[in-house]
């Protein structure tokens, strides 16, 4: 059964605003709390790639 798509303009705006707000809030909260883990890993990855390329 297909999920409902917003039909009317009013539905569209409020639906999207709610969805995007929820997604953005959770994303920002989680990223801020765990950013150090990924920053360290990304730096290490860049170092490895640079070493492999002889930079």
């Amino acid at each position: 059964m297909p999920i409902d798509k917003p039909e009317h303009k009013g539905d569209k705006v409020s639906c999207r605003v709610v969805i995007l707000t929820v997604l953005a809030t959770c994303t920002i909260l989680h990223c801020v709390s765990i950013e150090r883990t990924y920053v360290l890993a990304f730096k290490e990855m860049v170092t490895i790639v640079a070493r492999m390329l002889g930079i």
Binding site: M1, P2, I3, D4, K5, P6, K12, C15, R16, V18, I19, L20, V22, L23, T25, C26, T27, I28, L29, H30, C31, S33, I34, T37, Y38, L40, A41, F42, E44, M45, I48, R51
Partner: protein, 709 residues
């Protein structure tokens, strides 16, 4: 279907004591041929037309699903899993649970041609259902090697992508969004990390998702194919982990709902396949151990299978965790960067929030949502409920048990992409997911659980050095960097032999990792694992934590001797045994008759020289002070340098390596009247300090000549 065939043939032959490769091959070829012939005879069109039709469907589906975002994700998946497979080729087995209890049973089954119960005293986990381990055994029994075994999970990850895609397509999510969400599952942190190990959670999650898919299909359309497929997948899953029994309850309730009103043959097919694929483990445990789910107990904390210091039962753990877990777990992503957990930025940022919105939306629009969508969405809180049942201190290691919640979150994300129905916003979400996935892949560069680093391998290959792969566990963790000195020489000395060493092993339970002892080509046998008959051994491995001093009291660490006891002192008392390596966590002792062959002496000398180059240098400075005919008895690493010099002449008796702290006992039991020691003299002997040698690395070593009184 392939998994069912593999499992049933291995189980049948294994429980009958007939698990031989030729027989297994012939049986499977016969079964596959019969299945093919049955399908061929029932076809209504030509085989070539069927193949062309299927190819056309796959091609058109792939073309419909391709866009720039999916191509980028596919490239990321290919890159990261190529890294996983490359690491599996060059690096050894290097997990924890897989080395301790997932892999030793299958190596044992391959060598003994029988499925049997390994000693419970080593690990009660050997009693767990082992369908997943038997699927790992399939490539291993053909290769008879540990190489590439760590990549055995990769095909199951790729199958998981297909299942997530199929689940989304069943709910009419467009091909591009469905493929996008499905590919993100392969780029989830815990999935990538487990793909490089032999943990079984990827497989359990895969068969859970397959069970969910076929349960949904059967609910929508009561066909016998769907009933049997659901029975097969639920049966396989329940034969992998005890916790799968509880995970399958909601799915089984849905199946029973439709089976009750359906045709009897559907129920017969469903139940017979489910029981055939999981009952053996529970029957065996009931008969042998008196408890079909040994050692599980829902009335103790940790269910009796997860470590816990609490006294409350499972429900007590749930109540305690609700207070703290709900706030911490989503933000901390406990276990991220290891095979133990970490659902990732995509799940916690976008997937979980999509699920939260979709679940709320579905509750508010109950009539249009449909039962099947609710069934799918409800699996996420059920997965979280299982995590709540884990004692909070162990959550760092057990988040992986609910890995399938990532797929449910991605299912919700795929649905949200359709609901938003706007090109710009969908692009923003997809680009964010791609950036998060790239960051996730970068976790592999720092991971030690498992290790993916290949720099040492590349350096060795450039210098034409081909050590045992177990050399590379030194970068995995502190314990393995020590145990490496047991595993590596044992493998290095025997890997080219058809029949390696018969090994006796005794260890502290926390160090009983049996898998490396079999060797990279499964060339070694463990003689005291399968029964209590004393068998001759060529090698002895003793693994132990050092005794601890607690306020003046020495706390001895107990060693467990499976089946029968051969104390280390007894082994050391025999002159035919030589200590090859000794570490702070144990020693490797091998019989002289094996080592004294010219080829083995050469290998051992090479191993000492490559592993302890500084000891070789130090030995050159110490050697001039030593007289011929008087042995050196020591646990000091300089012994490796002395042995390196002497093995070139085939001399193994000038320097006798002993476990640390065993010098005096060794000299007594071997009745040695005169010897050199390094660093400290022997008590009860007349001692002369011969020299104090200043080594190049600024360390000074004292040489003592000891005479018996």
């Amino acid at each position: 279907m392939a998994s069912v065939q593999i499992l049933l043939t291995e189980l049948t032959l294994g429980f009958s004591g007939l698990l031989y490769l030729p027989l297994l091959t012939i049986v499977n070829i016969i079964i596959s041929s019969l299945v093919f012939l049955y399908g061929y005879n029932r076809r209504r069109t030509r085989l070539a037309d069927i193949v062309k039709h299927d190819y056309a469907i796959v091609k058109s589906t792939l073309l419909a699903a391709m866009d720039a975002y999916n191509i980028i994700l596919i490239a990321l998946v290919l890159m990261s899993y190529s890294w996983v497979v490359t690491a599996a080729y060059f690096l050894p087995l290097r997990g924890v649970d897989d080395l301790f209890y997932h892999l030793p049973p299958i190596f044992h089954y391959i060598q003994t041609h029988t499925i049997s119960l390994l000693p419970m005293g080593i690990r009660h986990h050997f009693a767990f259902p082992q369908n997943a381990e038997l699927l790992f055994m399939w490539p291993t029994i053909f290769s008879n090697s540990q190489r590439m075994l760590d990549s055995a999970n990769v095909p199951f990850v790729l199958m998981s992508v297909v299942v997530v895609y199929a689940l989304l397509r069943n709910f009419i999510i467009p091909e591009r969004d469905a493929l996008f969400a499905a590919l993100l599952y392969a780029l989830c942190p815990v999935v990538i990390m487990q793909a490089g190990s032999n943990y079984i959670d990827v497989m359990v999650s895969l068969f859970f998702l397959i069970s969910l898919y076929y349960t949904i299909l059967y609910f929508q359309d009561q066909r016998i194919l769907y009933a049997c497929s659901a029975g097969m997948s639920i049966g396989i899953m329940c034969g992998m982990k005890y916790t799968a029994l509880f995970l399958s309850i909601p799915l089984q309730l849905v199946m029973l709902w439709k089976l009750y009103a359906g045709r009897r043959q559907h129920a017969v097919g469903y139940f017979s396949l489910l029981i055939a694929l999981c009952c053996w483990w529970y029957i065996r445990n009931a008969v042998v151990l008196g408890n079909p789910i040994y050692p599980m107990n829902l009335f103790v904390s940790g269910m009796g299978i997860i470590r816990s210091s609490g006294e409350s039962g499972v429900f007590g753990d749930v109540i305690q965790n609700i207070r703290t877990w709900i706030l911490n777990f989503p933000l901390e992503d406990i276990g991220v960067g290891s095979y133990d957990g970490g659902f990732g930025l995509v799940f916690w940022g976008l997937g979980f929030s999509s699920w939260a919105y979709l679940f709320t939306y579905s509750l508010l629009h109950v009539r249009t949502t449909g039962v099947t969508r609710f069934v799918v969405l409800l699996q996420l809180p059920l997965g979280f409920l299982m995590l709540l049942a884990i004692p909070s201190k162990e959550l760092l290691y057990d988040g992986r048990l609910s890995m399938f919640v990532v797929a449910i979150g991605l299912f919700a994300l795929g649905t949200i992409l359709v609901m938003i129905n706007d090109k710009f916003y969908n692009s923003v979400i997809k680009i964010t997911c791609i950036i998060f996935s790239l960051l996730t892949v970068s976790l592999m560069s720092l991971s030690t659980m498992p290790l993916f680093r290949l720099d040492r391998v590349i350096t060795d290959r450039k210098n034409n050095i081909t050590p045992s792969e177990y050399k590379y566990v030194m970068d995995a963790n502190a314990v393995y960097s020590v145990l490496r000195h047991i595993w590596e020489p044992l493998d290095f000395l025997t890997r080219d032999d058809t029949y390696g060493l018969s090994c006796y092993v005794a260890a502290n339970k926390g160090l009983f990792a049996l898998a490396p002892l079999y060797g990279s080509n499964l060339q070694n046998k463990l003689v005291n694992i399968d029964n209590d008959k004393h068998k001759p051994a060529d090698a002895f491995i003793y693994l132990y934590y050092p005794d601890r001093d607690l306020f003046g009291n020495v706390i001895k660490q107990d060693i467990y001797y499976p089946n029968y006891k051969v104390p280390m002192g007894e082994v050391l008392s025999r002159p035919e045994n030589l200590v090859i390596t000794q570490t702070t966590l144990g020693c490797l002792i091998i019989s002289r008759s094996f080592i004294c062959e010219t080829a083995k002496l050469r290998l051992l000398r090479k191993y000492y020289g490559d592993t302890w180059p500084e000891a070789v240098t130090a030995a050159r400075q110490v050697k001039p002070y030593l007289r011929a005919g008087v042995p050196v008895i020591t646990s000091d690493p300089i012994a490796y340098g002395l042995l390196y010099q002497e093995l070139g002449n085939g001399n193994v008796d000038s320097t006798l390596l002993v476990p640390a702290g065993f010098e005096e006992q060794f000299v007594r039991i071997r009745h040695i009247s005169k010897c050199y020691t390094l660093e400290s003299p022997l008590h009860g002997y007349a001692t002369d300090k011969i020299a104090m040698v200043q080594l190049n690395n600024r360390r000074a070593v004292a040489i003592y000549l000891n005479h018996a009184n």
